[in-house]
Symmetry: C2
Subunit: 376 residues, 2 copies
């Protein structure tokens, strides 16, 4: 990771912006939308409720509903379906069960960061025309994977929408998204960072690969490779298949922690912006990582092929850490053990320190300062 | 309405299936998804909750959360954004505030059918690339309209997703959807039809026009018209502008009914399938309509230009009735008065009778039998 391979460096390095996502165009709308959304909070008073304002800017929106908090979210898969479509063309195999799980993971893994128990998932499957549904095997895989992921997270699949949107969604494509509703119960499970502070431990949960973030970059790389998605990233493991390893679902971990009585002060889903998401909470705290999880081969491959130094790789991809838990220092080992008991590898990887706000990844000599992540 | 105009009949009549939506391809997936979704209901027992199984097949999914019911939904705008895009090209005017309201209406108007108070809306705005967001006026309209519709419904706008999905969503287009979470409180407000029966009155609420259903048909018609969207459907009213009248929001009506103590036995949002949605509840009941709301000019125009007889027009479009309430007969007049007081025109339009299951629209001599609507 420290030095790009010279063979990959035959191409100029590839940044995330070069891969096609122009945040400079999207961000003004996002800011305007966030301001307008914040202004609607007062509407809840008509129902005798209040928003938990600290949840603005967090991964899920939280309302105080009296006996418990109510949390909700909508999330989309992004461009990973394009990789599944291309792999089906190349190998004949449908990976739609995998990307169904990815879509649910995008919603559920964000929802659980606030301490919520996910209860209901709604499916949003917008196809580029009625023809999309004629591929019965692919459609069946999507249904099967969706159901299995719901069951893994102990949520009810409430229903959803399956529109045929010719003229909006491209022919032969599908736009997959999920909405999730949950509750925080007891209310003490709310993990918006009020208790986050020096002395807390950082426990990292394993990822299975790229999950569903960084796919624009990964797809651009495929275009550069002579064998594209059929390139081996490890013996017998094709790049395209490795990319399609489904995102791990972390709801079983957070539910097990609650059942075991391990308090969670804060949690971050390491999606876009990679490890910079560890800087998510607004408090002026330092985060020092001393232990790195193993890097999945596909992420090692992408980082090398894209010519990324460690700071760019860890600031873009999850690099083996799909989710971060911030727990009291004395609970760190128990937290990791509870996670492992659910089948998810976990490491006591670092600690929270007094400020200034920054993230230090000691084994890599990498430091991200406070301005490395501007989400609010 | 009874006879198609001969000038329009120069073309063969245009059915909904001809307009591009192939339910024969979509429905097998829908059925498979509904079965798989129903199988996940048992997951709620892990959280000490149960689903309200009567809500399967209804417009929103309902869970018994103890002190109240929890309702959730995701809905999409469909193809109405294509009309807004074309009208912007033709007239320079952005109708994105209007279609923002449409999108929220699709979710909120469905959610309130079960008796829920909508609390939180999440935005899903998937653009065909970062460039979409560069049109600041259009983006601002979308934000402004979204906020205003939330405020009209007294819901908090919790947040959402604004992905740039080049390769999935078409360049220059946007896929708009909304997720909504609400509660049924007190639980006696649940309106899944348990109390629906002979003697109930049918109160119809006005629509503003086509709302967001039947747009595939409306767009095909525009292609047939020499002046397209610039055709006048009434003096000074262009077809394209008339189509873009925003969907009425019915949450203020249902909330006002609850506040006034008017019990609602059942409710139906007359979206796809038009008035056939009055047959939605599975009970073997008859529905007899004696009074028709006035037909908005744009719907009168579409029905004539498409060569629809009354049965096809009322079975496809809302024809002036955007929402149907089924209330005890002696509450019918009060129900309509409460609706009017919120600014929504309303008519005591008919009554529920003993079976067999069918809908009779007396003024039109139209009868839809039980098999006219197969949603489950």
């Amino acid at each position: 990771m420290t030095e790009p391979l010279s063979s990959a460096a035959a191409h100029a390095p590839l940044s995330y912006e070069q891969a096609g996502v122009r945040y400079d165009l999207i961000d003004p709308l996002k800011v305007a939308a966030q301001r307008a959304a914040a202004a609607t909070a007062t509407q809840l008073s008509a129902h005798g409720m209040t928003e938990v304002s600290a949840s603005r800017g967090e991964s899920a929106y939280v309302v105080d509903a009296g006996p418990f908090y109510l949390a909700s979210i909508v999330e989309c898969l992004g461009s990973k379906a394009l990789v599944a479509d291309e792999m089906r063309r190349l190998t004949g195999r449908s990976h739609y069960a995998a990307i169904a799980q990815d879509t649910i993971a995008m919603a559920v893994n964000d929802l659980v960061t606030v301490g919520a128990t996910p209860l209901v998932v709604q499916a949003y499957w917008a196809a580029g025309g009625s023809d999309w549904f004629a591929d019965a095997e692919r459609a069946h895989e999507l249904v099967r994977g969706w159901q299995a992921a719901c069951e893994r997270c102990s949520v009810a699949w409430g229903g959803g929408e399956t529109p045929a949107l010719a003229g909006i969604v491209e022919a032969g494509r599908i736009d997959l998204a999920a909405a999730c509703t949950g509750i925080v119960r007891p209310k003490s499970r709310l993990s918006l960072g009020d208790a986050l502070g020096p002395g807390d431990a950082i426990v990292l949960l394993a990822s299975s690969g790229i999950h569903a973030n960084g796919l624009s970059l990964a797809r651009r790389l495929a275009e550069r490779l002579p064998q594209g998605y059929l390139t081996e990233v490890a013996p017998g493991l094709l790049y395209g298949e490795a990319l399609l390893a489904p995102t791990l679902l972390y709801a079983p971990v957070t539910e097990a922690l609650a059942a075991a009585g391990v308090p969670v002060h804060y949690a971050a889903n390491t999606t876009g912006h990679g490890w910079r998401k560890l800087l998510r909470h607004p408090k002026p705290l330092g985060y020092r990582v001393h232990t790195l999880p193993p890097v999945p081969p596909v992420l090692e491959f992408i980082a090398r092929a894209a010519g990324h130094h460690a700071a760019e790789a860890y600031g873009t991809l999850n690099m083996g850490a799909g989710f971060a838990l911030f727990v009291p220092g004395h609970e760190a080992e128990r937290c990791a053990a509870v996670a492992r008991a659910t089948g998810v590898a976990a490491w006591v990887a670092g600690r929270v320190e007094p400020g200034p706000k920054r993230l230090v990844i000691e084994p890599l000599d990498v430091v991200y300062e406070a301005d490395a992540l501007a989400l609010r």
